[in-house]
């Protein structure tokens, strides 16, 4: 299982709705709207990096109101 934090910037005023929509997606463990340089932070997990990439591309980035994502895989050193 691989995990990642996805940092998301949204259109003005859309953070809460984006977080709520993303929280319902399979593979999303948590989605919160936050203050700071990013508007929503998501923790996601999948069976492989390929699956995680598809989750980001096909589903999370398809949510209305997202302008930018930055995906940071969790590493266990």
């Amino acid at each position: 299982m691989v995990q990642a934090y996805i940092l998301i910037q949204t259109e003005v005023g859309k953070a809460a709705a984006v977080a709520e929509a993303i929280a319902k997606l399979d593979g999303v463990a948590q989605a919160e709207d936050v203050t700071g340089p990013y508007d929503v932070i998501v923790r996601a997990e999948a069976n492989s990096v390929d699956e995680l990439g598809k989750l980001v591309v096909a589903r999370i980035q398809g949510v209305d109101g997202i302008t930018r994502t930055l995906t940071c895989p969790v590493v266990h050193l």
Partner: protein, 152 residues
């Protein structure tokens, strides 16, 4: 005695891709994915793919690439523009260009120009057939997404 389906029918089904998978969209373009990437690189490519614009210019629209991959995108009509993320950085020996703060190395093969970024966290290759005019503008249209997703 059990009946077996005709061998010819089985072959036809296989040729038609009737193996139970999702059929490729009719406007899909074959683009070779970049395989064997580190997780961070692959996920940066996923970020880029989602942020690339729906069109680079009038009539140069994004098309699905097959096989499905976070590393590939296509644009425009045949032969299409092919975008591959996660490649090696462009060669210093190729012609250097900078469009909208993104540095490119250009290699002209005659039928296509291959543009590869230099100095990014993850580099991108764009192969543009010569029938596309204003290639700098096409690359410039990608610059915001590239800068956003792939800058160190």
């Amino acid at each position: 005695m059990p009946r077996r389906p005709p061998v010819g029918l089985l072959g036809l089904l296989l040729v038609a891709g009737c193996t139970g998978g999702t059929p490729a969209p009719s406007d899909a373009v074959a683009v070779t994915p970049v395989n064997g990437l580190q997780p961070g690189v692959l996920l940066s490519c996923a970020d880029l793919k989602g942020q690339l614009p729906a069109a680079l210019a009038d009539g140069v629209k994004k098309r699905p690439a097959v096989p499905e991959s976070s590393t590939t995108v296509a644009y425009g009509t045949d032969p299409a523009i092919e975008v591959r993320c996660g490649v090696a950085e462009g060669l210093a020996a190729d012609d250097p260009y900078t469009f909208d703060a993104v540095r490119w190395a250009m290699h002209d093969t005659g039928a296509t120009r291959t543009w590869t970024t230099r100095g990014l966290k993850v580099d991108v290759q764009v192969v543009i057939p010569d029938h596309f005019d204003a290639q700098a503008e096409l690359l410039g249209a990608m610059a915001p997404a590239i800068t956003s997703a792939l800058t160190r």
